[in-house]
Subunit: 374 residues, 2 copies
């Protein structure tokens, strides 16, 4: 069984995990004639959520996903595109995009700037698809030089933050149950933005005093009401408020940040590097996610730029396997807050990788992004 | 003869180069009990200039310098502090600073963020001293993973720019001679800012049509006269104008940049990362030098930030050996313009490293900063 068959069938089947029955994309997997060129392969994979995931405007029990690998000189490197439906990419769009990516034309995976520039220019958008290539290339480079990425970036793994754990919108009774299950976490994250915001916070506070981050997902519309709510939230021990207003309301958002007693964090309001520079005095900080930033390289630059603007930085994720979560965790010694619980929200992870120990993001010393197939 | 003796006497004497006679600092060289810790050593070294170097307000025939190395696990890594007198550091101040740097407390050279943060906080200022440690640490890391730094940063060595070659202020006759000697260069750099600016440019244009960068070193004081001169310079095929006005004249500089037909580049006006963000709409770009940025790590971040601000970037140097110049050259695939001729201006280089071939910065494939002792 060659490496290609391994990821296509062996490892996933071995792990006893659910695979999309209709493997419509296997025919698009690229083959190259020489063993000394990078080989990219990819496979849709449906993430099973432990709890129904409810945002302000939708709920779901699965997340579409594409698993990616690059084979090169005997090394296998992993990447992933997680595809929450509201972001617009699908397994179909990702696989179509990846089928256009010809890594074999590059003689050397260390030409990251060129390769990722080429990938970025293949087509607009496709940010998660691009991230999957970026993650696998970074994994490959770490494996080639036999170092975890955090070492190559000069970071101290002891400086990782605690990660928040997301408590989805639910009934007060279910929320209390979820909070009890999350007792190891030193910080919780709660989705607000519907008509029961105070009820949710009160339900959590009835069973826990841990700090809480609030993610409104653009769910509030009136800046004055938002400010009143933020003052109330501050009294409840909330740490920051993420994306309180619709992303288009720049002036309202600047007003809210100026008056807010809590830091405000941009999420849906930005995508790429060039957006960050506009946020000085609009938000207090940014939530960087690999599936939006097109991967680690641009995420790393975003952190540097946010710091130069005196902005707070958090690193977040989608529901993902430990692959993309562990990749993001490599950058976490640089951030103020982490929301890296995506792998903990699914029941069919494919990898061992970054762990949460006593609530803290805990990096291993494995090369690259720090994952191994289960 | 151990490695320490080698750099203290052997290699420099072997190279037949001039060494400061009074080695007053050898007693400050640090020794550590275990062979598994980083050992920092350093030595003043006087750079001999091929031509008397004339700026707007001074001239000299030597540049003070301190050579640095780090020994670790059988590897020797090199760094350098170049100390043009107008920047305020001296061999004495550098050696005193370096004698306080205890690298032995860090178990791992890959903890760059921690180590350089520690070094930065030992004392304010001392930017060239700090750069010498940063350069040697980067050299060490590249050697440990057996890669040139540009590879670790994902850069393509083919994308290096041409370097300019500096023609010092001199008589028209000497200028014509210097330009003739610089015939391999595709771009020249000229120091202006005295009363003979047009004469100098005219002298060069009488023998050469190559593009010219102009460095005024704050030598002009009136913004309207500066603008008139820049319009004239544009007609003469000048590429950009560096530090035309005194660094304090922020508003005048913003006006000049707005009206200038050529890009304006900040040099003396900034030092550290946090300064760059203030320059949007004040200058068109920045000239990054390792001896001001405290080394490669901050220089790399500066480039990212300047790019996010849509600013031009050049990378420059002092009169230096091939050590610091080759270190800066590792970043040069990311910049618009390079002014990396410092090693070519001295007669007593200590290293082989980056080369200028047909006017272009040409990187070798040696590990780390890419230098070997001559």
């Amino acid at each position: 069984m060659d490496r290609r068959d391994f990821i296509l069938s062996g490892s996933l089947a071995y792990a006893g995990l659910i695979i999309n029955a209709n493997n419509i994309y296997s025919s698009t997997i690229k083959e190259f004639k020489t063993g000394n060129k990078m080989k990219l392969s990819f496979k849709p994979y449906e993430l099973q959520l432990k709890h129904t995931f409810t945002l302000a405007n939708s709920s779901r029990t699965t997340t579409p996903d594409v698993q990616v690998k690059i084979d090169y000189q005997g090394y296998t490197a992993y990447g992933e595109a997680s595809l929450p439906p509201y972001l617009g990419e699908t397994p179909d769009s990702v696989c179509k995009f990846l089928s256009k990516v010809d890594l074999g034309q590059f003689k050397d995976p260390f030409l990251l700037e060129d390769i990722l520039d080429y990938v970025d220019k293949i087509e607009d958008g496709n940010k998660a698809a691009k991230a999957s290539v970026d993650i696998a290339l970074h994994d490959l480079i770490g494996k080639l030089v036999k170092k975890p990425l955090y070492k190559l970036w000069g970071l101290n793994p002891d400086h990782t933050p605690n990660t928040s754990f997301t408590i989805g919108i639910d009934t007060p009774e279910m929320i209390r149950q979820k909070v009890a299950e999350a007792s190891q976490f030193k910080i919780l994250k709660v989705k607000l933005g519907r008509d029961n915001d105070r009820e949710i916070i009160t339900a959590i506070r009835s069973v826990s005093n841990v700090p809480i981050c609030v993610d409104v997902n653009q769910g509030w519309s009136d800046k004055q009401k938002a400010l009143d709510m933020i003052f109330w939230l501050k009294e409840q021990g909330i740490v920051f408020v993420e994306q309180p207003l619709p992303k288009e309301l720049i002036d309202d958002m600047a007003w809210l940040t100026e008056h807010s007693p809590l830091p405000t964090i941009a999420d849906e309001a930005f995508q790429r590097l060039t957006d960050v520079i506009k946020f000085k005095d609009v938000y207090s900080g940014i939530n960087i996610k690999l599936m939006k930033s097109t991967g680690l390289r641009e995420a790393h630059k975003m952190i540097n730029i946010a710091r130069a603007l005196d902005m707070k930085v958090m690193i977040g994720c989608m529901t993902e396997t430990s692959c993309a979560v562990s990749a993001a965790a490599q950058l976490s010694p640089l951030v103020d807050w982490a929301d890296l619980d995506g792998n903990l929200l699914i029941s069919n992870d494919l990898y061992k990788g970054m762990q949460v120990i006593d609530g803290k993001v805990t990096l291993n010393n494995w090369d690259g992004i720090g994952v191994k197939l289960i």
